[in-house]
Amino acid sequence: MIRVQREDFDIGREVAALTGGRTDIGAVVTFTGTVREGSGEERIASMTLEHYPGMTEAELARIEAEANARWPLAASLVIHRYGTLLPGENIVLVVTASAHRQAAFEAASFLMDYLKTSAPFWKKEVLAGDEEGRWVAAKADDDAAASRWFQHQA
């Protein structure tokens, strides 16, 4: 299941809705991405996430389908927010559930790595004391993290 929304999410409620009443699940992994205030001297006042309505949902659905093709997942959920967010606020939630922990851990990691390099979202940060925002640059580390999932393919 995927959702793209402006509103916050409640992790406990989402996990309960995804796994409630199921007795075939032995492992639930959740990952939550949140807005960091900054690093070093710089402090972020806010972060605005722009996205591509339509393609965002399509791309997240493709990513989720790929995870389900690779691992025996009993259930999965990706929620990604857009709009203006403050430091400490939630950005993204990934939940994976499986009979055993390894599939749930690996699928959650795959979903995040793949999402970061292919889901059409763009972050713009506004620094404290500055009105002009700046677009966050993509990181080579994220590309490397995503590509490791494809190294063992023929």
Binding site: Y52, A137, A138
Partner: protein, 85 residues
């Protein structure tokens, strides 16, 4: 060929618009051709498309490489590398 063009993030800001419907010239066959042609559409577009290597493109809401053909596209989007998550 009439196609909807979409712009996101700093490509949108530099181009000065979020979307438009346009007829592509016949000589534009690939995404690379299209990016080259976009840069000739005035100062704002020249600025937005001056570095083709950092422009990512989606055709009909799927990522494509710069050697992809544009024939038959209904919607083409231009944007920088994505930074979600």
């Amino acid at each position: 060929m009439s196609v909807k063009l979409l712009y996101f993030a700093w490509v949108r800001e530099k181009a000065g618009r979020a979307e438009e419907i346009i007829d592509l010239p016949r000589q534009v066959e690939t995404v690379a051709d299209l990016i080259g042609w976009m840069g000739t559409r005035g100062e704002q577009f020249r600025s937005a498309f001056e570095r083709p290597d950092v422009i990512r493109v989606a055709i009909d809401q799927r990522h494509v490489k710069h050697d992809a053909k544009v024939a038959g596209a209904r919607e083409i989007a231009f944007f920088p590398p994505v930074t979600g998550g």
